[in-house]
């Protein structure tokens, strides 16, 4: 069997993830997503991750039901989202997205957010590898894929 060797830490953007306090209104979150060109914000209380608010949450929980954009994030975010650590394999991010339907996965260290990976981040990196495969250069794939047994 082959498995993905890359770790999440190799994918994290250099800039910090968009983060807001649980007591901030939704309008702050959509402004931050727009300014940072991201599709989710991580929601914290006293520095610890307590939720995530995504573009899909805005569509389905705020705009759809007709709530005000002044609604507090704590009322419409997804509480206690699944998280991963920078040392985990990127395969777990793909499993969360493909198998569980998440579009964004928060990355934390001891409960504090250090990053966020979106489905677009993952596909962007994969497309580079795939371009190498198409051209017949599989060195990039060897860097990714463990062809050893086990």
């Amino acid at each position: 069997m082959w498995k993905i060797r890359k770790r999440i830490s190799e994918f994290l953007p250099n800039s910090p993830p968009p983060i807001l306090e649980v007591t901030e209104p939704v309008i702050k979150a959509i402004e931050l997503m727009r300014d940072k060109n991201r599709s989710a914000v991580l929601v914290v209380s006293e520095g610890r991750l307590v939720g995530i608010f995504t573009g899909r949450d805005f569509l389905e929980r705020v705009a759809g039901p007709g709530l005000s954009s002044q609604t507090l994030l704590g009322e419409v975010m997804t509480r206690d989202p699944d998280t991963l650590s920078p040392a985990d394999s990127i395969a777990y991010v793909i499993e969360r997205m493909a198998g569980r339907g998440y579009r964004n996965v928060p990355i934390v260290v001891e409960g504090r957010p250090v990053g966020q990976l979106s489905v677009r981040d993952v596909i962007s990196h994969l497309s580079t590898i795939f371009a190498g495969l198409e051209s017949g250069d599989d060195r990039s794939s060897r860097d990714w894929i463990d062809l050893g047994g086990g």
Partner: protein
Amino acid sequence: MTEQGPKTLQTLLMTPVGLVNDRPPARATRDTALGEVVQRMVAARRGVTLIEAEGKLLGIFTEFDLHSRVDHTNDEWRQRPVHEFMTTEPFTVRPEQPIAAALGVMHAGGFRHLPIVNAAGEERGVLSVRDILVFLAEGFPEAFLNLPPDPKNESHRRYGG
């Protein structure tokens, strides 16, 4: 096992886009009110609406556009026609083109969705980055989907035994 993984991956990447997914997008015409477009996206559980006229694609409106292009300081947006906010003449992909080609366009343009349009110019659905990820992961369940639920339970020994 030797090169089987990458070769199989290559085969998957050559799969025509038209075979990847058949989840219908939300659809609307250029004058549909944005509030109604939002309801259609929620009902379809898709983050994208194709704006069309007589089967021909006019534009695309996504959940990203909803929070990035629309003024949400009041509720006036709900009555505005979607054509004021849609992307006109979006990049598209043909159903017979390989996934690899679609990935390249998405990567280069930073797009999350690509409308599928056939040679006659007729709209045939939409491909999302997540559709591609699901397709690839289902092609390699042993690598992506059959993982321990918690990575802390994973063996980190490179060679098993």
